[in-house]
Structure formats: structure tokens, C-alpha cells
């Protein structure tokens, strides 16, 4: 304002000059506004951003341990109404001055959206002396973040409009200068689950390899067969051997028929999202039927050996007993005779018995 007054002095108020001065003043107050919690000044800029990305979902990541509300709430509400068809995802991290471990949070994003990252910091000393910075990876971020201090807790909020894979990565908020406390948000695409254990199949068989994603819907799936480091896309020349299908959008199946030794190896399934790619591994092992058959034959041979050994043993013991066997049988007859003839005796049957036993 003073500048303007000063300009009035010479009495040559040209319009462009006035405009320039006005703009300069505006910019200064804008910068000032951003570092303090003056919401109104920072609104136009953000509104611009909002209108640009109005077709995106707004994700706001809020972690508030205390119940101290944002003074920028009315701002939020306005922004919400502007981007009401967007989904707002909010994630937050809280930390104290004395937390030793760096605090991390993994955020899984599937569709382009607006992500609001909020860091909450409880300093031991003076609030206002704490310096707040945001970094993406190692690059320092400028602008686009709010800092608010209420009730002894420092909040900082950073909004990211994630539209493609360039905005994915890890975002960190830093508090303090000497002893920096750091909170990290990792923005990632959803993970794909392949199969942990290798699939065992036999030559000539067919197998179905499956890749699944828990709660996501990729745009597209592709399969790659990896022999070593070379990755060859599968199914590009459409043939009978490879059939790619999938019952639901969150899974993909690759059916391979007429397996041969060459089909062994690790297969990769790529899921393509708007925000990047993700892949899963499936390992395939192809055995020939001879492998278990050999083991089977070995065991069967061992069984046959045991049977033969037992038979030989039995024959041997029988041979030993044979000369005495007849004697024993007669002995049996004698014993029976004795048993029989304990009471009533009859010589007739005894003879007959002898004869029949002798048979």
C-alpha cells in the first residue's frame, strides 16, 4: 500500500505500472500467506489446481491424533464441493520429537486421484521455530503445502494430484533443522500375487498359471516368459499353445498345453494400471514321467526282493522240518489217540484214524 502511495506522488499513474505494483503486492502477500495460515490468500492458486484436475478423485490423508480441528476447514469444504465427484483419500502420520524410528506409511493407489498427505508433529519446544519441508524422493518440493499449528501440535498437509506414474513414489515430510524428524508416504500400485511354490507338471500335460490381484482392477494383463534375462511376450502371435483368459478382471490365467522341457522357467504376469505397472512371478517346472517312475520301480524292486527273501526263508525252514514233519504228524495222531482213549476205548476207530491220518 505504501508503494502505491509513493507512486501517487509523481502524479503519473500509468495503468501498466499500477497493475505491476498491484501484482507485486499480491505476490508478496501470497508468499506471506502461504507460510502462515492465511487461507484466503492461497485459495486462488489451489482453486486453479482443483479446476484443472477436477476429474480426478481427491484423496486426503488425515491423521489427527488430537481433536484439534483445522482452521483451514472452510477451505477444505469449498474444495470438497468443487471436487465432489472425486474420491478423497486421506493418509496421515504422526510423530513426536523423540521418535527414533522413521515413520512410514504405504499407500496403494489404483486410479488417478488426489492424495492428501498430512504429517502431524508434536514438538517439545517452541512450535513456530520448527521448519517444515516436504520432499519427493530427494527432491525438495516447493509450494502446495499447508502448515498449521494448533494446541501445541504442528500439522502439515500436502496434496498431490496423481495422474500418472510420475507422481508415484515416496513423499516425505521433515520437521526441524538440526534434528530432523521424518515421515514417509510410499505411493505404490497394487501388488500382484503370483504363485510362491513352483508348479510341477509333466511332459505333454497342460497347466494353468494364475496371477491374482486382491482388490484391484488392472486395465490390462500381459504375460512374459522369461528364460534367463530375456523376456518374451506370450500370446502375441495367437496360437493354440497359449491361451490367456480370466474369469474376473482381477485375475488372469495363462493355459499352456503340450508342455515340453523348453516351457520350464519363470513366467511374469504384468498388470498395467493407469499409474504404473506391477508384476507377479510364477515358476514352472516340467518333469518327465520317468522321474517318479524310476523311484517307483526302485521301491517295487525292493518289495519284490523282500518277498523273495521271505519265500526263500520259508522254504528253507520247511525243508528243515520236513524229515521230522511226518514224525510229528504221527505224533499228533498218537496224542489224539491218547486223548480219545482216555475214557471209552475203541480199537476200531483207532486203526481207521491211523490210516486216515497217514493220508
Amino acid at each position: 500500500m505504501r508503494a502505491l502511495q509513493g507512486l501517487r506522488g509523481p502524479r503519473a499513474p500509468s495503468l501498466p505500472l499500477l497493475l505491476l505494483c498491484f501484482l507485486a503486492a499480491l505476490r508478496r502477500s501470497l508468499e506471506h500467506g502461504l507460510s502462515t495460515a492465511a487461507p484466503f490468500k492461497s485459495l486462488p492458486v489451489q482453486e486453479e489446481m482443483m479446476t484443472k484436475y477436477s476429474n480426478l478423485s481427491l484423496e486426503s490423508h488425515n491423521i489427527s491424533v488430537t481433536a484439534a480441528p483445522f482452521t483451514s476447514l472452510p477451505v477444505q469444504e469449498e474444495m470438497m464441493t468443487k471436487s465432489s465427484n472425486l474420491s478423497l483419500e486421506s493418509h496421515s502420520i504422526s510423530m513426536t520429537e523423540h521418535s527414533n524410528m522413521p515413520v512410514e506409511k504405504n499407500i496403494t493407489l489404483e486410479r488417478p486421484s488426489n492424495v492428501e498427505l498430512i504429517c502431524q508433529f508434536t514438538p517439545s519446544g517452541d512450535l513456530n521455530s520448527v521448519n517444515v519441508t516436504w520432499k519427493k524422493g530427494d527432491k525438495l518440493l516447493e509450494g502446495n503445502y499447508l502448515v498449521n499449528a494448533t494446541g501445541g501440535i504442528l500439522y502439515t498437509q500436502h496434496r498431490v494430484a496423481v495422474i500418472n506414474s510420475k507422481q508415484m513414489g515416496s513423499y516425505s515430510c521433515f520437521f526441524g533443522e538440526k534434528k530432523q524428524q521424518r515421515g514417509t508416504f510410499n505411493l505404490k500400485v497394487p501388488e500382484i500375487n503370483g504363485q510362491n511354490k513352483p508348479l510341477i507338471t509333466y511332459l505333454g500335460d497342460s497347466v494353468v498359471l494364475m496371477c491374482k490381484c486382491q482388490d484391484c482392477l488392472p486395465l490390462n494383463w500381459t504375460w512374459y516368459g522369461g528364460n534367463g534375462s530375456v523376456q518374451v511376450p506370450i500370446g502375441v502371435p495367437v496360437n493354440d499353445k497359449y491361451v490367456i483368459s480370466g474369469k474376473h478382471a482381477n485375475e488372469t490365467r495363462l493355459k499352456i498345453t503340450q508342455l515340453s522341457e523348453d516351457d520350464q522357467g519363470t513366467y511374469l504376469c504384468h498388470a498395467i494400471f493407469e499409474l504404473g505397472e506391477s508384476e507377479g512371478h510364477v515358476k514352472l517346472v516340467v518333469l518327465s514321467y520317468l522321474v517318479p517312475l524310476k523311484v517307483f520301480c526302485a521301491i517295487a524292486a525292493e518289495v519284490v526282493l523282500l518277498v523273495a527273501a521271505i519265500l526263500l526263508f520259508e522254504m528253507y525252514t520247511q525243508k528243515k522240518k520236513k524229515p521230522s514233519d511226518d514224525g510229528k504228524e504221527f505224533e499228533q495222531g498218537e496224542q489224539l489217540k491218547l486223548d480219545d482213549s482216555n475214557g471209552i476205548e475203541n480199537s476200531g476207530p483207532r486203526h481207521r484214524k491211523n490210516e486216515s491220518v497217514g493220508q
Binding site: K197, I200, T201, Y202, L287, V291, P292, L293, V295, F296, I299, A300, V303, L306, V307, A309, I310, L311, E314, Q318, K321, D325, K328, Q332, Q335, L336, L338, D339, D340, N342, G343, I344, N346, G348, P349, R352, K353, E355, S356, Q359
Partner: protein
């Protein structure tokens, strides 16, 4: 026709070659029980591979375990025709063959036949024949030897991880082939089942307190030949008057010896009947071929007593074991502790079986009293089970249940031998198993239905407890049945005396 070489012994071995028979029985227990347990692993594999519902896939396991009991009478018949060694080897081939053919399976119904029907049939053969031969070789130490053989069930916990390793290495087809090969080992071990003839001397002390039913004139026929009561009765009735009080044919002979003994006895009787051309075996075998199935069992009250107790105790046994882990989960106990419970139960059951067998063999009181008390205690334990809501209490319940169930399990075979009286153990066990098969078939679905209906596991425990108590009830009727049998016998003796 004497196919086998007979080795005449003066009394039951109670040792010697009997331990080889026990070894075979042990292996049978390991593999037969192992089959049932490893099936749980194949269940998951088959469900994934053939995309069947769990009900359909579960049928395979049900058929396998229930056919083991249902095929009892068939085993008895075939054993009479071919003999024990052959029957057992046939069983081993059936099981191994079933597994081998299953490796080419293309659908669940296919598997129902090759992995349910064939192994089930084979395991029936194996198990029943082994049990019967054990009863022939052991008399005084029957309970202890059976318990030692049954401890093979404790080793089955090794089979499950082994099967998993096989599946990881060779996929389920290769695993089935290899398991079939391993089960083939039962063929040489069934060749250990040497036939045995026991011949009793005139003054052998064959009075056995454990015997319950007087075997006298209605005594059953021989070991290797078919069971032909009628013929013996007619033959013996004539001769009984002549041999009234011969010590050599003491009527209080115990069951194990009676069969062999009565072989000789029949011989005598028949010879006394002055049919020269009938070499005793020929007679019995010729007429016996017409009577392969022993229907006289249905007239035997002991059969009903035993079957009632057997069926109900089998029904009641499955439910607590089935639901133990699930119950632990609902109480908030984690899987590791629950599996610890299961393994503790297994070990204690094995040990308790051996101790119970040894105690029963001491013959301080009749074996069925022990059986009765164990069943009652099992019932009470299960009725109190719903009170166990924390891990220590659940552990207490598991331990006590394992102790008592091990106790009664070891005594099933000895009590059966004591009760079987007139008939061969083979046909008795066969027919009793047939009825038990129904309990086995209906057990798991019933347990599941109970849970679905009551939404807690306490209902199944109450059911199991009452089943156990009911199963012990029939054993209280044994003295009554004994008295009835005695009166029958004296009546018949009077009749024959009058006739004479």
C-alpha cells in the same frame, strides 16, 4: 486239502513268531490310518485340480473310511476261502493298485472308485485279517500286543509332512504313484502271517477266567476252514455223551484255543461217527462250502451286546477328535497351540493304550469291566467338556479324554474275543464292523449338522458323551446273557442225555 504247512503248537504262542504278526499289524495300522490322515492333504489338491465342491470331494474320504468297516463280512468269507496270507496280500494289492490307478484320475467320480472304493476294500482286508491272526497268536497277552500294534497309529503324524514333500517334488500324480509303491511293502509283511494250529494237550490248564461263554458242544470250527456250526453241532452232539467229562475237551476252554482245539475235537467226533471216507477236513470243507456266511451270529446275544457298544463308541469317538481344533479356534486359541493339543492327545492315547492293555492282561478282573468303566469315564469327560473354555482347561479335557479313549480302544479286540464265543473271531468282527461302518459313515456329517444346527460345538460334545454312556449300557447285560447261554447249554445237554 492241506495247502499250508501246519505247525502244531501245544498252546498259544503269546510270543515268538507272534511278534512278527504284531509287526505286520503295526505296519497295517500305520498305513491304514495314515491313508485316512493323508487324505486331508489330497482333499485340498483334488478340490483345486478338479474344481469340485468340498462335499463331493469329501465323499472320497468317507467311502474310504466307511468301506473299511462295511467290507467286514466279505473279508470273513474270502478269508475262509483263500486263507489269511492271501487275503492280506490281496488287500495290499488292492490299496496299492487303487493309488496307482488314481494317478490317472480325470474327475472326482473316477477318484471315488479308485481312491475311495479300492483302498477302502483293501484296508478292510488288511486290518481285519491282521486283527484275527493276532487273536490266534496271543491269548494271555492279547490286550498288550494289540495295544503295541495300535501304537502304529501314533506314527501316522509323520506321514502327513512326508506326503506334502512328495506333492511338492512330484505333484499329486507322482505322489500317488510313490505312496502306492510304499504301501506295497505290506505284501511282504503279510507273508509273515503264518498259519497256526494250536493243539491242546489233555492236561493243559485251559481254564481261563477271561473266557465268558462256554464253548462246549456248540463250539465253532477250525481256523483255516470255514465256519460250520451246524455240522459240528450235529457231529458233536452225538459224541458229547461219550466224552462227557474228558479233561482234554474241557468245556471251559478259552476262545483262542477253542478253535484249534475243536478242530481236533471234531476230528475225534467224526471218526467216532465211523465215517472212514470222511477225512475230517473233507467233511467239514465240503459241507462248509455251502455255508460261507455265519448267520448263527444273529442268534448270539453277545453279538448284539458287542455290536451295540462298538457302533456307539465308534460314532462317539469321531466327534471330539474332529472338532477339537475348531473348538480351540472359537475359544480364541491360535493354531499352533491347537495343533500342540492334537499331538499331545495322540501321544497320550498311545501310551494309555499300552498301559491299559498291560493292566487288562493281568486278569485281575474280567476285561469287559475295564472296557465298561473306560466308556463311562469317556462319556462323563465329554459331558463335562463344554466347561473347558480356556487353554489349560481344554488341555485337561484333551488329556483325560486321550487317557480314557486309549484305554477302551486297546480293549476292543480282547473283549470281542471274549464275547465271540461260538463263532470265529473272523465272522464276528466282520459282521460287527459292518454295523460300525454305518456309524463311521454317518459320524462326520452328523457332527457337521449338529454344529450347523446349534452353532456351537457344545452340542456335539453332549452328543458324544451320551453315546459313550449308552454304549457302556449294553455291557451291563453280559452276566444276564451268560446265564441265558448257560441255561441253554444245560438244557441241550439234558436233551442229549435223555436221548442217549
Amino acid at each position: 486239502m492241506l495247502k499250508r504247512k501246519v505247525q502244531p503248537y501245544k498252546k498259544t504262542l503269546d510270543g515268538g513268531w507272534g511278534w512278527m504278526v504284531i509287526f505286520h499289524f503295526f505296519l497295517v495300522n500305520v498305513f491304514v490310518m495314515g491313508m485316512t490322515k493323508t487324505f486331508a492333504i489330497f482333499f485340498v489338491v483334488f478340490q483345486e485340480e478338479f474344481e469340485g465342491t468340498s462335499e463331493q470331494t469329501g465323499w472320497i474320504g468317507s467311502i474310504m473310511s466307511s468301506l473299511r468297516f462295511f467290507a467286514g463280512p466279505l473279508v470273513a468269507v474270502i478269508c475262509d476261502i483263500t486263507g489269511e496270507k492271501t487275503a492280506s496280500s490281496l488287500g495290499a494289492f488292492l490299496v496299492a493298485g487303487g493309488y496307482l490307478i488314481s494317478s490317472w484320475a480325470t474327475s472326482i467320480p473316477f477318484l471315488c472308485v479308485t481312491m475311495g472304493f479300492l483302498p477302502g476294500l483293501g484296508s478292510a482286508f488288511l486290518y481285519q485279517v491282521a486283527a484275527v491272526v493276532t487273536t490266534k497268536y496271543f491269548k494271555k497277552r492279547l490286550a498288550l500286543s494289540t495295544a503295541i500294534a495300535r501304537s502304529g497309529m501314533g506314527l501316522t503324524f509323520l506321514l502327513a509332512p512326508f506326503t506334502k514333500v512328495l506333492i511338492d517334488l512330484y505333484d499329486w500324480t507322482g505322489a500317488l504313484i510313490l505312496l502306492g509303491a510304499i504301501i506295497l511293502h505290506l505284501v511282504p509283511s503279510s507273508m509273515l502271517l503264518r498259519p497256526i494250529h494250536i493243539k491242546s494237550t489233555s492236561d493243559s490248564d485251559i481254564k481261563d477266567e477271561s473266557s465268558l461263554s462256554p464253548t462246549g458242544p456248540e463250539a465253532a470250527c477250525g481256523t483255516e476252514t470255514s465256519c460250520c456250526n451246524e455240522i459240528q453241532e450235529s457231529a458233536i452232539e452225538d459224541s458229547i455223551m461219550q466224552k462227557e467229562r474228558r479233561p482234554g475237551i474241557s468245556l471251559t476252554v478259552s476262545q483262542n484255543q477253542s478253535k484249534e482245539f475243536n478242530n481236533e475235537y471234531n476230528r475225534n467226533g467224526l471218526f467216532r461217527k465211523t465215517n472212514e471216507e470222511t477225512y475230517w477236513k473233507k467233511t467239514t470243507s465240503r459241507s462248509c462250502k455251502q455255508k460261507l456266511f455265519d448267520f448263527s451270529l444273529f442268534k448270539n446275544p453277545f453279538f448284539y451286546i458287542f455290536t451295540w457298544s462298538f457302533v456307539l463308541s465308534q460314532l462317539a469317538y469321531f466327534i471330539p477328535t474332529f472338532h477339537l481344533v475348531a473348538r480351540a479356534k472359537t475359544l480364541g486359541i491360535n493354531i499352533m497351540d491347537a495343533s500342540y493339543l492334537v499331538s499331545v492327545a495322540g501321544i497320550i492315547e498311545t501310551v494309555s493304550q499300552i498301559i491299559s492293555g498291560w493292566v487288562a492282561d493281568q486278569n485281575w478282573i474280567k476285561k469287559y469291566h475295564y472296557h465298561k468303566s473306560y466308556l463311562i469315564l469317556c462319556g462323563i469327560t465329554n459331558l463335562l467338556a463344554p466347561l473347558a473354555t480356556t487353554f489349560p482347561l481344554l488341555m485337561t479335557y484333551t488329556i483325560s479324554f486321550a487317557v480314557f479313549s486309549g484305554g477302551y480302544l486297546a480293549l476292543i479286540l480282547p473283549v470281542l474275543v471274549d464275547l465271540s464265543g461260538n463263532s470265529t473271531v473272523q465272522s464276528f468282527l466282520g459282521l460287527a464292523s459292518f454295523f460300525a461302518g454305518m456309524a463311521v459313515l454317518s459320524g462326520p456329517p452328523l457332527a457337521g449338522w449338529l454344529y450347523d444346527y446349534t452353532q456351537t460345538y457344545t452340542g456335539s460334545y453332549y452328543f458324544s458323551g451320551t453315546c459313550y454312556l449308552l454304549s457302556s449300557v449294553s455291557l451291563f447285560f453280559i452276566p444276564l446273557a451268560e446265564r441265558w447261554k448257560n441255561s441253554l447249554r444245560t438244557k441241550r445237554e439234558d436233551c442229549s442225555q435223555v436221548r442217549a
